[in-house]
């Protein structure tokens, strides 16, 4: 470890003739000419995305097809560019998932504002919002780029759920006979 002054040796006569620079450069280029391609024909060939890639945020359903979001609005709160807008709604009492009580009436993510930072996924207590693999979203109008609930579920699909806590709650309620 030290401080190293960078040495600058004067050029030799041959080097001053520009020739070694040019010939050396051509040699390097020629060598690279015969190496495999590093580029990719993009729309036809797609890059392989690593697990945990942060693409567009989506809403997911649990393996039973229940929408996971309970409209707690935490993602709306944490979103740095304020891209998320949620209108909370009640689940009707006769629905099979009535014990979850709440679900979003509307859920909109403005993809023109979203910066793909992943904070929404990080704070979500239900693991309902996930950044998945979509990375090139386009549209003809601004309205098209505001993803509504239906579109978010289309993009999201179903993800496995290791906890299934609402099923556990229902089971406990049934076993204990407790209403609340």
């Amino acid at each position: 470890m030290a401080i190293v002054p960078l040495e600058r040796k004067p050029l030799t006569l041959a080097e001053r003739s520009y020739l070694p620079g040019i010939v050396g450069g051509l040699k390097t280029t020629l060598k690279h000419l015969f190496q495999p391609n590093v580029t990719m024909e993009y729309p036809e060939q797609r890059p392989a995305l690593p697990p945990g890639y942060r693409g567009a945020p989506t809403l997911v359903k649990d393996p039973h097809g229940r929408e996971k979001c309970v409209s707690c609005q935490l993602c709306e709160f944490v979103c740095p560019p304020k891209a998320i807008r949620i209108t909370p709604g009640e689940i009707p009492a006769d629905a099979p998932t009535a014990h979850v009580e709440k679900a979003p009436k509307e859920f909109e993510i403005d993809m023109l504002r979203c910066i793909y930072c992943g904070l929404c996924q990080e704070v979500c207590p239900e693991e309902a919002i996930w950044l998945q693999n979509q990375f090139s979203l386009t549209g003809y109008t601004r309205e098209e780029m505001v993803h509504n609930k239906q579109r978010l579920y289309e993009l999201g699909g179903t993800l496995p759920d290791p906890h299934l806590k609402w099923d556990k709650k229902l089971a406990a309620e049934v076993a204990g006979g407790a209403s609340h």
């Binding site: 600058r8 080097e15 001053r16 620079g21 050396g24 942060r54 904070l119 207590p125």
Partner: protein, 422 residues
């Protein structure tokens, strides 16, 4: 940097010159060659100004008599934005300062806030941060070198450095989930632990990178064409470099061995062995040499970090309490769930106080000055950005040179407007 600049009224001057009385015949009329200075705007969208920098120049023929950088085209008000959001929410904004080395910015910001919150940082976290910051340095210098090459007419260099940078970006993508806007740091931690086998891939990258770097540098270092454009061009003396507040490779190119990683070690930099390369003359060529050597030193640090990579926690314990409860607990425990809601909505409960932390970023010293009056948001956050200070020397260093030299100087200063204007 004065912004008031008066355009010489060329039309009026020409009219006046025409009005001048014809020289009286018989008198020995000296053939008077009247010249006018011309003003020229370079930028804000000019390929060699690397972003939205406008350079207001005054030219005498092709010689510059005045150069005035006009900044602010990319101003977003990041410092004010920071006052309106919690500490962790600001992390994505630090990506967008020096967007060629977001990982280093993330780290500098996180350490500043951690010092305010007085957190103990576990060694594994420190190692992760040093590793990512050095990788960011390599990727930033690769870009700087490639762009400098293009500026002085060497396209090939850019192609090869970009290829290497792409490999690094693949690694970043795997680590953070994004290539450019990494948002990797959290206060007192990182967004996620290293993926399986990632360190091995970084090591493999380093092994294949060194010979390629040598090849790339050999295209320029002793190339007469490149040297004609850079040697003795834009000489910044030691005294000037210091008095204008230059930092990073630009300062070290002028021969001042200031490197915070050595002088004020943070995040465990004192454990690693590396050299600080300094230039002898302070011209564009020296700044190029320093960047080239710094990449090799960064690779040296990366290898050392990987060789003794510590195990253990990658998130400070107290940070879990103040900034973000662990996710698995949030999903299963009612107390942590409530805590999670409190932290996100009310913000982390921080002590009052102020802290200034500066880190050696690829472009120079990036400083964060955080003032807290307690509660969830900073009361004031000041960012000392290296690119802004580095640009301040332009009016001094450009005068008396040709326009083509200015292009070389801009390339050698290697600034980023996202950070300059912030």
């Amino acid at each position: 940097m004065a912004t008031e600049f008066t355009f010489p009224d060329n039309a009026a001057k020409t009219a006046e010159a025409k009005r001048r009385p014809e020289p009286v015949e018989g008198l020995a009329a000296k053939p008077e060659f009247t010249t006018e200075k011309m003003s020229l705007s370079m930028g804000p969208s000019h390929p060699s100004t690397h972003g939205v920098l406008r350079l207001q120049m005054e030219l005498d023929g092709e010689i510059l008599t005045k150069a005035d950088p006009v900044v602010g085209y990319l101003h977003r008000g990041d410092e004010k934005i920071a006052e309106n959001m919690t500490y962790n929410q600001f992390v994505p904004y630090t990506d967008r300062l020096d967007y060629l080395a977001p990982l280093a910015n993330n780290m500098a910001y996180a350490i500043a806030v951690e010092r305010l919150a007085k957190l103990d940082i576990p060694p594994r976290l420190q190692a992760i941060r040093v590793l990512t910051a050095e990788m960011a340095r390599v990727s930033s210098h690769l870009m700087g070198l490639g762009a400098f090459g293009i500026d002085v007419g060497a396209w090939t260099v850019f192609m090869y450095t970009f290829e290497e940078r792409e490999k690094l970006y693949k690694l970043f993508e795997e680590l953070t989930g994004a290539r450019l806007t990494t948002s990797y740091s959290r206060i007192g931690g990182v967004a996620r632990d290293l993926p399986e086998g990632w360190l091995g891939r970084v090591n493999a990258f380093c092994d294949q990178f060194l010979p390629i770097l040598d090849e790339v540098l050999s295209l320029l270092t002793r190339n007469k064409i490149f040297m004609d454009r850079t040697v003795d061009v834009g000489v910044i003396s030691k005294a000037d470099a210091l008095s204008y507040g230059l930092t990073g490779p630009n300062l070290r190119g002028s021969g001042v061995p200031l490197d915070l990683r050595k002088d004020k070690p943070y995040s465990g930099y004192e454990q690693y062995e590396f050299d600080v390369p300094v230039g002898t003359k302070g011209d564009c060529y020296d700044r190029y040499l320093v960047r080239g050597e710094e990449m090799k030193q960064s690779v040296r640090i990366i290898k050392q970090v990987i060789a003794k990579f510590p195990g253990g926690e990658w998130y400070a314990k107290d940070a879990r309490r103040i900034f973000a409860p662990p996710k698995d607990k949030v999903l299963t425990s009612m107390e942590e769930l409530i805590n999670n809601f409190m932290i996100v909505t009310a913000g982390p409960q921080m002590p009052a106080g102020e802290v200034y932390f500066e880190a050696e970023n690829p472009k120079g010293i990036l400083g964060f000055y955080v003032v807290s009056k307690g509660g969830g948001v900073p009361w004031r956050l000041k960012i000392r950005s290296p690119s802004f200070c580095n640009l301040s020397i332009l009016p001094k260093v450009c005068v008396g040179l040709l326009i083509s030299d200015v292009v070389a100087i801009l390339g050698s200063l290697d600034f980023v407007m996202g950070e300059c204007d912030r």
